[in-house]
Subunit: 409 residues, 2 copies
């Protein structure tokens, strides 16, 4: 059961001019599933992406990097579920390229203008003939108002489709922003999540697109974790179709640039948090906020140590205020000169630990009250500086084990 996450609201999914989406059932792993999605971009769109830092990056990730670097202008994307085309060596690269070539042929564009994405089981050969056979149906389905079907088309172990959007006005012109994401396990993105796509019709200089994608990922997908397992296929793509009526945004530091980035970050964060809310077996959504560090990096180190601790995560599942487990995780996070006697711990508004020890006025029933909530903020104050950072995660339940013990069956 996802944590406070409903199906997407169709009224929030805005068509983005110049971006059409089509979905088909190609039988890639199982029959009768939407498993193939194409995204078609009008000429003139700007595209930037950030990808997994896993050294075992999948074949489609390698091809995406090549095709973005080729600089011929991206005109299409093809996304399949059911098979990750990862751990598949040279043969996998060939199959990812064949997929691009097949779509390029249908669209009469160059293969380098297509980005491929795959998600699913690792180390099995990609059935690219099925993808090729499914392309005509996906192309026939292509429409600008198809974002909900796209969100459904990229789901794997997700229980809820993830999509949201917003409209803003920049320099008097209406601008639409819509995004989708997927992912529930093997989630500890490093540069981007499993799969996340955002499009806007805003006019953005190609020169700042990569910076925009990177900063959006840093503030959203790169701050969530389910199980600490960084996937081989993480990809986050930002599209600007450049169809809106405002002057081109040349810098993210201009008033318009800041306005656009803030609105896009809000959408990116909702999409990233949706992945945690739908985390495999999740029953609780936790915000881990670490303050008072010397640097944001050390705050992040502590936040991830807490967010990845199986003992912390199972205690939250049980609503058991066994909060010493959080202090233990702070202690092994890797800050060599950490002084425990300066550390405070809060659970929402409850002051649990003071100067590294139990707060004398802390009462177990107060901790218990907060632990029973479905949304909990853990706040650690390190007492050694002014920096802070935040990570979002979920608890660790029986269902996580069940889902991952049975994934392929």
């Amino acid at each position: 059961m996802p944590v406070n996450l409903s199906a997407p609201n169709p009224a929030e999914l805005f068509a983005v001019a110049g971006v059409r989406i089509g979905v088909a059932e190609a039988g890639i792993r199982k029959a009768n599933r939407k498993d193939l999605t194409v995204v078609l971009l009008d000429e003139g769109a700007s595209v930037a992406g950030v990808f997994t830092q896993n050294r075992f990056c999948a074949a489609p990730v390698q091809v995406c990097r090549e095709h973005l670097a080729a600089g011929r202008g991206i005109r299409a994307m093809v996304i399949n579920t059911g098979n990750a085309n990862a751990g598949t060596g040279q043969e996998g690269l060939m199959r990812a390229r064949s997929t691009c070539a097949a779509l390029a042929k249908q669209l009469k564009i160059a293969p380098e203008q297509v980005l491929p994405f795959s998600t699913g089981v690792i180390m099995e050969p990609l059935p690219y003939e099925r993808i090729e056979a499914g392309l005509p149906a996906a192309l026939a389905d292509a429409r600008e108002d198809n974002w909900l079907r796209a969100a459904e088309g990229i789901m794997t172990t997700d229980t809820v489709a993830k999509a949201c959007g917003v409209q803003i006005v920049i320099a008097g012109a209406r601008v639409s922003i819509t995004g989708i994401s997927k992912g529930a396990g093997m989630i500890r993105p490093n540069m981007a999540t499993m799969l996340g796509y955002m499009a806007t019709d805003a006019r953005v200089s190609p020169a700042v697109m990569q910076q925009l994608a990177r900063e959006l990922a840093e503030g959203s997908f790169n701050r969530v974790t389910v199980d600490g397992d960084t996937s081989t296929n993480d990809s986050f793509v930002v599209i600007a179709s450049n169809k809106a009526a405002h002057p081109v945004i040349e810098s993210l530091d201009s008033p318009e640039g800041r306005q656009l980035k803030a609105a896009m970050l809000d959408v990116a964060r909702k999409l990233a948090q949706a992945i945690v809310r739908d985390g495999e077996g999740a029953t609780k959504f936790m915000t881990i906020r670490v303050q008072g560090g010397k640097t944001a990096e050390e705050c992040r180190l502590v936040a991830y140590a807490i967010a990845h601790s199986p003992l912390v995560k199972t205690a939250f599942f049980a609503s058991d205020p066994n909060l010493g487990r959080i202090l233990a995780a702070v202690g092994y996070a890797g800050i060599g000169d950490l002084d425990p006697s300066h550390i405070d711990l809060f659970l929402d508004d409850v002051h649990v630990a003071v100067q590294g020890g139990r707060n004398p006025s802390y009462r177990e029933e107060d901790g218990q009250r907060v632990m029973k909530q479905s949304e909990i903020t853990v706040r650690v104050v390190l007492g050694r500086g002014q920096a802070e950072d935040t990570v979002w995660t979920c608890d660790f339940s029986h269902d996580y084990v069940t889902i991952n013990a049975d994934y392929r069956s």
Copy 2:
């Protein structure tokens, strides 16, 4: 259910001359449990210890470090379960010191000659009056042939007592080595495990005792992990009572030093592996061996990434050869210049992946056959050097969640 781990064999638990052990029920957390253990050393014993690297180290660990540094000669140890005396601030330090003082008074020695150890719940006040009240019964119980009771006396979530020993002959003299350990969760020792104690009557120069303790820990307790959570209380103590008849061992590189260290390492490794075999919810024992690295450190990094991955651990629980999860963990382990196309993966004798991709001759039923075993070796060959390292771990089951969701109830 522990994995291929039986109760200790009394015939392997050798009395160590000069080391007496007593156990009592002090009602520290629950009634009718052996929860208090004292170890009494004759004058002239050498003692060395290695302790947790968790910055939130518990009060007894801090006091152990102080008392070992004081150099007055350790004459006794006091170990309680039911309460870790961690995350307890200045008050916790005072209570650990009071415990030492109480035992020192009974034995007419200095408090600095006593080492305290605590294990159990974190961040609750140590009931040291109960420990003090229980000391007379523990002292009355003290005998040299009491190792099995000691192993039982230090158990917490352990399901089986952990103890073993060996006798060897050094320079014509019989030497006994016996050790005990405990721990099942919050296990990813960093310098030592939750609690491990080894004693020998060998004659060892005090000058090499610390080196001996460190090298034994490195080859045993520092290579096991259950859940990646480094405890606040990890302690590993090595005692040489110096009662045996051989000449003093002045160097671990002498023939006698090497002989003693090899025999003690064998015992230490069995004690450390026993902790994994009895890991919370464990159904399988896995040896993660990483070869062909540039350094042992990078091999260890990869081994721990595999050993900590919840996805890998749940796949082993399910006997599901979803082996791409292992490649993904190799990829995110943190070796920046890792070339996936040089990596081979073996499951016992089965060659699963070759040059970063699926081995064409790999058959799923072969992987399945190995995955069903209760003892499995995962071997990764990085193809970039000659170094190697090994880590031992267990799988991740429903029972881990159950145990840790209910620990305090």
